[in-house]
């Protein structure tokens, strides 16, 4: 099954996966990424925002300003297009992962 649209790199997949759980602003997304990966994904936090902007340009996420918590933050949520792309890319990733596992299993 072909992905709806190719997501460039694993970071996009991870970001969409985090946002899918619930809409969040950048700080919450980055914290969730770090916590859920047990520190495995620890990238320069400022570079995540351009990645979120790119996903928004591509139509996978939508965003809006929120001032409810005393500070002006941009909250990101998944669009229907983003849901489809995430599902397709997740399938592709699991197939790839299973393939690598399988090969490594034979090599061992």
């Amino acid at each position: 099954m072909r992905p709806v649209q190719h997501l460039s790199g694993s970071l996009d997949l991870l970001l969409l996966s985090v946002i899918q759980r619930r809409p969040a602003h950048g700080y919450a997304v980055i914290s969730a990424l770090r916590d859920q990966s047990a520190g495995a994904f620890d990238l320069p936090e400022g570079t995540v925002y351009p990645a979120l902007h790119k996903l928004e340009k591509q139509g996978f996420v939508a965003s809006a300003w929120d001032t409810s918590a005393g500070r002006r933050r941009r909250v990101y949520s998944l669009t229907a297009h983003g849901q489809k792309a995430l599902a397709a890319e997740r399938d592709a990733w699991f197939r790839f992962n299973a393939g690598v596992h399988s090969v490594l299993g034979f090599s061992a």
């Binding site: 320069p44 936090e45 351009p50 902007h53 941009r74």
Partner: protein, 270 residues
């Protein structure tokens, strides 16, 4: 008690602002999100027991270097100097195309002058021709009784045909230039002042051409009578007609820019 040491987050944001080469709306958003993120991080670190200044320094360190963040932003939002160059290039191409179209229209005026005043009015330029040029003219116009008459007929024809052909090329180029402009606008690239500057250049160009061509027409009429006056008059009239709207657009567009000072700015993306 506060020290005089500059606040790391403020310094970082200042440097990020100076490094960003993106449209202003994107720049404001990037800075707002960066500041919120940095302050959230510093707050969390302070709550965990870190001193306020150390918390800010650590927040800045985790955020990544200004160069790193700015480069990532440029990759997504486009690089302003390139956008300015693209906008200027598209405006120049439009200008060149409009100049060619104006030449084409002057060919139409020359055709009318040929019909109304005869080929003498447009084609009888005071010139001498070599023997080889004479024989080629006479070959093209066998009904002509002399080299001068053949040259007049050829010149009167060229005033129409070559100019109209130039105008047709100009229309094609104008189509391409307008398509490029639509593409840039679709990507949110709109540089304030470029269109107005282009109108200014058009006004100067068309105005100068009008003065030159009409001056030549008057000079020719005074020196040699009506022969060949149409060659210059047809161009001068169109140049003058193009000058007027260009000058009006340039005046309306440039006056507010000059009034508020020469400061580069961007139009907000559509």
């Amino acid at each position: 008690m506060r020290t005089n040491e500059p606040e790391p987050i403020e310094v970082y944001l200042d440097e990020l602002l100076l490094s960003l080469r993106v449209p202003p709306r994107q720049a404001r958003r990037i800075l707002a999100e960066a500041e919120a993120h940095l302050r959230d991080t510093a707050e969390a670190l302070s709550s965990a027991g870190m001193g306020p200044l150390d918390a800010e320094r650590e927040a800045v360190r985790r955020h990544g270097s200004v160069d790193e963040v700015a480069s990532s932003c440029h990759a997504v939002h486009g690089h302003l100097p390139l956008q300015v160059a693209a906008s200027a290039g598209q405006a120049l191409l439009c200008l060149a195309a409009l100049a060619l179209v104006a030449i084409g229209v002057s060919g139409g005026v020359a055709a009318l002058m040929n019909a109304a005043g005869g080929a003498h009015f447009v084609g009888a330029l005071p010139a001498t021709y070599s023997r080889s040029v004479c024989s080629s003219y006479l070959h093209l116009h066998p009904s002509a009784t002399s080299c001068q008459q053949a040259a007049m007929l050829e010149t009167a024809q060229d005033a129409v045909a070559l100019r109209v052909l130039t105008g047709a090329v100009g229309i094609v180029i104008l189509g391409a230039a307008l398509a490029w402009r639509r593409q840039l606008r679709g990507r949110g690239v709109r540089i304030a002042g470029i269109d107005e500057a282009a109108a200014g250049v058009a006004a100067v160009g068309f105005g100068g051409a009008a003065v030159l061509l009409l001056g030549q027409a008057v000079d020719l009429a005074v020196q040699h009578g009506s022969g060949g006056v149409g060659w210059y008059l047809s161009g001068g009239v169109i140049a003058l007609a193009a000058f007027v709207p260009s000058a009006v657009l340039a005046y309306r567009g440039l006056r507010p820019i000059v009034a508020r000072g020469l400061r580069p700015s961007l139009a907000a993306p559509a």
